[in-house]
């Protein structure tokens, strides 16, 4: 019981600041303090007329989409390789793909900056995507590893023994088993990219993503507009997480349903 109270107190600590941001984004007065002066949508109205913000959002969405796509392709092939490797091979893949998660964004940011400078690459949307993939891949691999550990290689062997070609085995056995986790984790890659700030600040050049825009607003003044943007960003992240969860669940349900169907006696 005591443990339950402690756990919920810690969760309250995690959630309270976010709820307060949401609350004040609807505040009728610019003051960020109590007493609460009533609800209003004025900050949101002000946001929707802001062309700079709109372009930052579109930029971030584009970058996040490309990051998720590249991460999905690289992650999918790496996962398939992981299944085929022994202990040493798996260790090598992990060492290369998971390490960036254990480094501050600062390190990843400046090392990519020197790479781009040294190779004469102009900083652009492309360099931001490249950087975001470096930090999104570890998250995908960590999520995939937990799932792949449960993967039974004898399923693939059984399919091959029953005469399925390599392509058939992949399409009918391997892919359906790993696809839900792959898609769910590339949605997380989207979320990571959409929110990334530290690494971006080094490789963005003159590009302005949404976090860069929020940063410039935060630095200039404390305005309730930041609350409204933050609230939208927060709900967007929640929507992404929910989407990732729903996809994982729906796929699992359909897999189970499919198996039940096969168990039914044929007419």
């Amino acid at each position: 019981m005591l443990l339950r109270i402690i756990v919920w107190a810690i969760l309250a600590f995690l959630l309270a600041p976010l709820l307060i941001i949401v609350l004040f984004s609807f505040h009728a007065s610019p003051a960020l303090s109590f007493p609460f002066a009533g609800f209003s949508l004025r900050w949101y109205e002000e946001l929707f007329g802001n062309a700079q913000l709109a372009s930052a959002v579109i930029k971030s969405m584009t970058i996040a989409f490309l990051t998720a796509l590249v991460t999905l392709l690289l992650g999918a092939t790496a996962s398939l390789a992981w299944l085929r490797f022994g202990h040493a091979g798996r260790g090598m893949i992990e060492a290369l793909t998971v390490t960036p998660i254990a480094l501050p964004g600062l390190f990843v940011g400046v090392s990519l900056l020197v790479l781009f400078a040294q190779s004469g690459t102009q900083l652009s949307t492309a360099t931001i995507v490249i950087a975001h993939v470096v930090i999104a891949i570890p998250i995908l691999i960590v999520a995939m590893k937990a799932r792949l550990a449960l993967f039974d290689p004898s399923l693939e062997e059984a399919a091959r023994d029953l005469g399925a070609s390599q392509m058939q085995t992949f399409a009918r056995v391997t892919l359906p088993l790993i696809a839900p986790t792959l898609i769910a984790s590339s949605i997380l890659a989207f979320a990571v990219s959409f929110d990334e700030f530290v690494v971006t600040s080094f490789v963005a050049g003159t590009e302005t993503t949404l976090p860069m825009y929020i940063w410039s607003m935060m630095r200039r003044t404390v305005t309730p507009l930041v609350n409204a943007i933050s609230t939208l960003a927060l709900f967007f992240s929640i929507a992404i997480l929910v989407a990732s969860w729903v996809i994982g669940q729906a796929r699992r349900r359909s897999a189970i349903a499919g198996r039940l169907e096969q168990l039914e006696p044929l007419p």
């Binding site: 941001i21 790496a78 997480l241």
Partner: protein, 292 residues
């Protein structure tokens, strides 16, 4: 079959490995090479000298901000780990609550900058904390010391890195067989006793890992101290970032980044050695089951 399996595997692994080599390993090596170069009147000259390292090590400013970063890092990582353990224990042994897990994931994926901004709003002189305390008569005038203080920096960093640390703790606790805990409980140990006698020794490596990872990320986080720490928010991370943005002495910044890296490694070694000497960390047994 086995050979072609490995060959297909190698082929499949190539894109990801190549990507990480080009965009992670090579850049790190270039950065390392840069740390020996020199900078003269805003131009970077290839060179091989140790002045960037020696100069930094001899500089009181460097040590001051580095001690600050280490202090913030150790303090924050300790609090974060202490808070993560009950949540991790609850999620692994008491209830596999999906609700709690998703609430944690929501905070993990909620915007980094938004959370910094939230704490600024909460702790400011006209902020929520001050107005609430004033109304309840706890204080009679707004306290400006909440913001721009080590306190503000630590509480915000704990808030930012706690979800990540909880997930690390959950994964390290999940490796301990439930039967061990149940056996201890059946023999009459309290749940706190079971934690210290059964779980902690078995999970020590994982918990130290979680602590170190949190430390490295916190000590390298320069945005939070900058936004919430005021004059107390000068850390090595900010010093390094400024070399790459303002001053333009990239080789010096590169050397300081590797010094920071070295400090983290030394700290990890010290903690592990201390843990082994005091018997808190047991040497990990050879992974027998998995090998077979």
């Amino acid at each position: 079959m086995s050979l072609s399996r490995t060959r297909t595997g190698a082929l499949l692994a190539t894109p990801a490995i190549l990507y990480m080599l080009v965009f992670f390993v090579v850049p790190s090596l270039i950065l390392f090479a840069y740390s020996f170069w020199s900078s003269a009147s805003y131009r970077i000259v290839p060179d091989f000298q140790f002045e960037n390292y020696l100069g930094s090590l001899a500089s009181p400013v460097f040590w001051k901000v580095t001690f600050n970063a280490i202090r913030i890092g150790l303090f924050t990582a300790a609090i974060t780990l202490i808070l993560s353990i009950p949540v991790g224990y609850y999620l692994v042994y008491v209830s596999r609550s999906q609700t709690i897990l998703y609430l944690i994931l929501i905070t993990w994926f909620s915007s980094y900058l938004v959370r910094i901004y939230a704490w600024r709003t909460l702790l400011g002189t006209s902020g929520v904390l001050n107005t609430v305390l004033l109304q309840f008569g706890v204080i009679d005038h707004p306290v400006s010391a909440f913001l721009f203080s080590p306190f503000a920096v630590t509480i915000t960093l704990v808030h930012i890195y706690l979800p990540f640390c909880i997930l690390l703790v959950v994964s390290s606790l999940s490796e301990i067989k439930r039967d061990l805990v149940d056996a201890a409980r059946d023999l009459g140990t309290s749940s706190i006793g079971a934690f210290f006698k059964v779980i902690a020794p078995n999970a020590a490596n994982g918990l130290v890992g979680a602590f170190m990872l949190t430390f490295i990320l916190v000590a390298g986080d320069y945005v939070t101290p900058q936004m919430l720490g005021g004059s107390s928010g000068q850390t090595t991370g900010l010093l390094i970032a400024d070399q790459f943005r303002k001053t333009g002495n990239w080789p010096l910044g590169a050397a300081q980044a590797f010094l920071m890296f070295g400090v983290s490694i030394i700290l990890y070694v010290v903690i592990t050695v201390l843990g082994r000497a005091t018997g808190l960390i047991v040497k990990r047994r050879a992974k027998t089951e998995r090998e077979i």
